[in-house]
């Protein structure tokens, strides 16, 4: 059995453990009780040396070192278990952790004789007294336990037929309760001594330390991830769902709900749900001050309760699951710079057994408070960004309406001129004589009306450019559809397409993107009246390209390039082309590229013109991918 077990312990660690400084073990004369085994052949010691005190101390030291080092979390548990089995001279061992929502003990690591994939999937119910066994007993009492003769032990449940004696030590969690157990068995009676109990306790402390460090590390990276999302996510809904997902990684809870305060009405609007209230998003079940959630919003303080139903503030207006099933509630305010912006609430079901309290700990309250504050900063960030955008657009509005009035006025004036001429002709000459002139006038008036409609369309598109609805979308499909709708069927412009089929998933507004891409295609065609080329390409931006475009490295970006062989854009106009009312064409109001910019920026992307003047225009649109880039891709 030694072969497969040592495999899971990193080879480097073993070498370290067997460095020349180690005092060589004096096995097989390790500590072993013989009193009860008279007449029974002395078993061969398979401790591989660690039953020697010095060697054990050395291994234990290495184990503690590993416990506080990052990485190898799974390997650590296996290493601890193997050491435990050897240190107490056992034949078989397992490590089980408590799954608090079900009250089950789940075996996560095994070592020693006789395990099969089936037996290694052992689950012990802590809820049912009859199914707990010694292991369950240890978890519930949080005390170590030794059985010299399992056949006479009141707690023992037979699982392997050859077991004669057993020793188990609890792994304790942050608030003193057990989160798991290390269990070692022997095929000999009275195999384990006080010394073994101390050794096992030491190993279980190391394991507890490792699990805690792991927990802290998970919290740390979760908080960092939330922090990262704050600056890169500018859509409140997406941000909330991300935060809920991250929070679920670090805080055990059955459901989580976010309410944001609508300051106009003083109502708490259900903004995100971990599941239970997903159907009711958008509802406003609480007024500030109503129920526990409303109390948190009104006072800006956290509330941490067991059996929240018994609290006088409880109203039960909006609950994640039937209120008699809610065992504990933790609600923290989402705080902005100087006021409460909402409430973040997590709940746990009642525990299946009286042994486990569903109560949230003070530490968990601190973590959720931190998340609440980060969320507050994020919400303010999003809102101030929205305000900034709307301020910019408001400034554009003044000019936009003046320009629109001017252009509409001019078109109407020209139409009036045509009507004036028409009336003159009709009053002066017989119909037959003026036929040709009337046809000309009609064509001119038709053009006039068309121009008016173009203006209206641009006006509308400009206004709604930033109002987008995000949904997962296949960018290459959007590009293809745009080209089939916009690129003329018969054109002297040669179209070439180079689409990267391995693009990451994107969330975007396909209809709006088509409008933006369509504008760029139309531009390319218009500026090459005597033929030319349009090369359309999609690609994933490299880290260097992201750095070039000052795009931030925390997420992936997809690029869409439209390159033509037209006159291009001179250097001093490169920035101006995206400003409203820039045009070198008579058509419309010159809002085309500013509409493109509006749509792209609403997707948190950027659009640039990077062509060399005289060599054609090259527009590159960069859109962020949905998910945060993997750390390897980002560095």
């Amino acid at each position: 059995m030694a072969g497969p077990l040592t495999e899971s312990v990193p080879e480097r660690e073993l070498r370290h453990a067997r460095s020349p400084l180690v005092i060589r073990p004096i096995c097989p004369i390790g500590p072993r009780p013989h009193r009860y085994n008279r007449g029974v052949p002395t078993p061969r010691c398979d401790c591989e040396g660690v039953c020697d005190g010095n060697a054990f101390l050395h291994e234990l030291n290495a184990l503690f070192c590993a416990a506080v080092r990052a990485g190898h979390e799974e390997a650590f548990l296996q290493r601890a278990l193997v050491l435990a089995m050897r240190a107490v001279g056992g034949d078989r061992a397992f490590l089980a952790l408590v799954e608090q929502s079900t009250g089950d003990l789940v075996v996560v690591n095994t070592a020693g004789l006789g395990w099969t994939p089936e037996t290694a999937r052992l689950r012990l119910s802590l809820v049912h007294e009859s199914a707990r066994g010694i292991t369950g007993h240890v978890v519930l009492t949080a005390e170590p336990y030794r059985a010299g003769d399992v056949t006479k032990d009141p707690h023992y449940i037979e699982y392997f037929r050859d077991v004669r004696s057993e020793i188990a030590a609890p792994i304790s969690g942050t608030s003193g309760q057990s989160v798991g157990v290390i269990n070692v068995e022997s095929v000999h009676y009275e195999r384990f001594t006080d010394e073994h109990e101390h050794r096992l306790a030491a190993i279980s402390h190391a394991t507890a330390a490792a699990l805690r460090v792991q927990g802290f590390r998970a919290r740390e990276s979760a908080l960092i991830e939330i922090g990262n999302n704050l600056t890169t996510t500018l859509d409140i809904q997406t941000l909330m769902q991300k935060v809920l997902a991250v929070a679920a990684d670090v805080l055990r809870f059955e459901d989580c709900t976010v309410f944001l305060l609508d300051e106009m009405t003083d109502l708490l609007v259900l903004t995100a749900s971990g599941g239970g209230l997903a159907e009711r998003l958008g509802e406003a079940p609480y007024k500030v001050g109503d129920g526990i959630t409303g109390w948190v919003a009104a006072h800006g303080e956290a509330v941490r309760l067991i059996e929240p139903r018994l609290d006088p503030r409880w109203r039960g207006l909006c609950v994640e699951f039937p209120e008699n099933e809610i065992g504990a509630l933790l609600a923290v305010p989402i705080v902005g710079r100087n006021r409460v912006l909402g409430v973040l609430r997590v709940v746990r079901r009642k525990s299946p057994t009286a042994w486990f309290s569903p109560a949230f700990s003070e530490g968990e309250e601190r973590v959720l408070n931190t998340i609440g504050r980060q969320l507050g900063a994020a919400v303010e960030n999003v809102r101030s960004y929205e305000r900034l955008i709307s301020a910019e657009r408001m400034a554009a509005w003044g000019e936009l309406s003046a320009r629109a009035a001017h252009m509409i006025g001019n078109r109407t004036f020209a139409l009036k001129g045509d009507l004036n001429e028409l009336n003159y002709l009709l009053s002066q000459k017989p119909c037959e004589e003026i036929r040709a002139e009337v046809v000309d006038l009609s064509a001119s008036m038709f053009r006039g009306v068309e121009r008016l409609e173009e203006i209206l369309r641009e006006f509308r598109d400009f206004v709604v450019a930033t109002q987008i609805t995000l949904a997962p979308c296949d960018l290459n499909a959007v590009v293809r559809e745009t080209l089939s709708e916009t690129f003329p069927k018969r054109s002297s412009v040669a179209l070439s397409l180079d689409l990267d089929e391995g693009l990451p998933e994107l969330r975007c507004d396909a209809r709006k993107l088509k409008r933006a891409f369509g504008e760029l295609v139309e531009n390319a065609v218009t500026f090459q009246p005597d033929g030319g080329a349009l090369d359309v390409r999609t690609f994933v931006l490299s880290a260097a390209e992201r750095a070039d475009g000052r795009l931030g490295q925390s997420r992936e970006y997809v690029g869409i390039e439209f390159a033509d062989a037209g006159p291009g854009i001179v250097a001093e106009h490169k920035d101006r082309v995206f400003m409203p009312f820039y045009t070198t064409r008579a058509k419309g109001m010159g809002l085309g590229l500013s509409i493109v910019k509006g749509i792209v920026e609403a997707h948190q992307g950027v659009v640039r013109e990077v062509g060399a003047p005289g060599e054609g225009a090259r527009f590159v649109v960069c859109l962020p991918a949905s998910e945060v880039a993997s750390p390897t891709a980002a560095t």
Partner: protein
């Protein structure tokens, strides 16, 4: 016959104005910007009798620029300024600087072209009167000069 310069950045507007004024028998030249108008004015054999110019072209007050060039060339050229939407401040400024009148392009229920034709005719009348007055003054001055 009177020679009129029409200045507007919109091709359709220029065409409509030119057509209507030609119907009255005027000779019409067009320009599409203040800069274009300045060139046309300085390049013409003699000053235009009247200039009809849009106010807002390259700049919001391009009409003032046209006015300045027209009066620099011939003090008695009559300038009528058109505005696409009532920008009274600029229009008043143009009057202060010697424009004959200003006219809003879009007034509900008003056929602006007929109003314009009327104003152009009044403007030309004033120009003629002004030129007559100047001639008389010149003649009197030369007679007095001859007498002394």
């Amino acid at each position: 016959m009177a020679h009129i310069l029409v200045v507007d950045d919109e091709e359709e507007v220029r065409a409509s104005l030119k057509r209507r004024l030609k119907r009255e028998g005027y000779t019409v030249t067009t320009a599409e910007s203040a800069a274009d108008a300045a060139g046309t004015i300085s390049g013409a054999a003699e000053g235009f009798d009247a200039v009809v110019t849009d106010m807002c072209m390259e700049e919001a007050d391009s009409g003032l620029e046209v006015l300045r060039h027209a009066l620099a060339r011939d003090l008695f050229t009559e300038v009528i300024v058109l505005t696409a939407y009532g920008n009274v401040a600029n229009a008043v400024e143009s009057m202060r600087r010697g424009a004959f009148d200003y006219l809003e392009k879009n007034v509900p229920g008003v056929d602006t072209y007929e109003v314009l034709v009327m104003k152009v005719s009044q403007a030309l009348e004033r120009r003629r009167a002004a030129i007559r007055t100047v001639r008389r003054l010149e003649e009197r001055a030369s007679r007095q000069g001859a007498a002394t």
